[in-house]
Symmetry: C2
Subunit: 302 residues, 2 copies
Amino acid sequence: MSQRRAKAELEESRSDARVVGEGPLAIIAGGGTLPCALADAATARGRGVHILGIRGEADEAIARFPHTWLKWGEVGKLFATLEDRDCRDLVIIGAVKRPDLANVRFDLGAIKNLPFLLSLGMGGDDHVLSSVVRFLESKGYRVHGAGDVAPELLAGEGKLGANAPSNEDQADIEAAFHVVAALGRLDVGQAAVVVKGHVLAVEAAEGTDAMLARCAELRRRGSGRRSPTGVLAKAPKPGQEERVDLPTIGPGTVEKAAQAGLAGIAVAAGRVLIAERTATIATADKHGLFLFGRKPAEVPDA
Amino acid sequence: MSQRRAKAELEESRSDARVVGEGPLAIIAGGGTLPCALADAATARGRGVHILGIRGEADEAIARFPHTWLKWGEVGKLFATLEDRDCRDLVIIGAVKRPDLANVRFDLGAIKNLPFLLSLGMGGDDHVLSSVVRFLESKGYRVHGAGDVAPELLAGEGKLGANAPSNEDQADIEAAFHVVAALGRLDVGQAAVVVKGHVLAVEAAEGTDAMLARCAELRRRGSGRRSPTGVLAKAPKPGQEERVDLPTIGPGTVEKAAQAGLAGIAVAAGRVLIAERTATIATADKHGLFLFGRKPAEVPDA
């Protein structure tokens, strides 16, 4: 009984999180198109939204939704807005640059929470984000993943565009996921490039785009024109706070993978966000690249 | 008895390898100053040398020793020279770029060995080099490590220059060696940069200099001027053919580490070559960087 009851409650709370809830869904927005995509998805489900755009990070396009602009350090304004708009459910989404703390002006709400803010220190990004989630939860907010609200933003399973990986590509996919899993356990990064079994590049702090630019440069210096081979693999780190920090690909990732002469991109299905899905898939199709969602069960040691 | 005998024979063959041998020591030379440093070290020990300089890779300075220039693909000329000069002992040393096979002209000796050459394929560099060693051994040559001939070319233990790592640096050293060991097991690379426990960069095919340039760029974008922190760690991969492919540092590595704002460089003692030792240490001292040889016993999982 109690198990069924717990399960029913869980399902209720989940469907609650997805669509219903009280008050609008608050979207704390970094850069890129995902915050608006999420707001559209929530709105289509009948859920009101209020976007809290981080100044200098979020796109001006958030202005087509109810919104408030926040600067880094305006923690008091964040809580005042959430209170004022009656938001209890939050999603944090979009890319952010690590702020230069020397130039951040802290408001009164930030000063009050200074011991927490100082505790963020200089760990991995993952540590910072999971601390932020715990901080918001300690204030009584519910933090949801973008995929809980709009599963269509996540990569599905199998072939996502027109092209499928060959058997050779599949071998590179497995090798690349093996590297990404090993790196993830060391809290290093979320991506690697493998070409014919050879690890060409590994991502740490520089990000996927910089890693792909390096691959393009390495292959230009190599032996001339070749048919596209090799794969970019992306997956979250084990233990990563997947509600707020999922790896993301978009049309730019595909363009850079094409420039690096890769055959395609493989992502952990259900655990990687796709920005501008239509454009991302169209770009892959145009360049003849595969986009592949690797099933969770196949992720090694996950 | 037989154990003691075997040990005596091993020691005899080792001292033989180091200095005595019959005929001059053949040095197959790639780029940089190490081939000449090795030739000097062998000469100082009374061993004659003959340098086989790879055209486009080896420095013109090899001309002060008995030498022959070889192009990529001149495998027949290599064996003819070794025969002519009565060389049975070989060292392969110095940096090489992966040749563009489309532009290599193979001589008759290469054609005869084409099945082997084709088998080199596109594995990791390590695979290629250990195959080359097995190939030369199959022809009856003895392949030695540079450190067998001239141990002074290897990094020693502990503090190598004027500066020693702090306790915080030691923690970064341990973290960085942990990452390098994990990467090495995946045949990825030999180096990583860790700053206050955070993995800033990981080396794959781009090489250490490119990785350090990336770190400098990342830190410029970060929060302004900081006191130097973090460490570059270098160590061979487990199972790597250490006779022909040891990681190397030199004055340029130290300059780039300084530009990246690191506190120092740690290498696996006895398993990393130092090019231009005097200049390397002087450069580290000038910039206030530590150079540290980490004891083999401390290398995790080695």
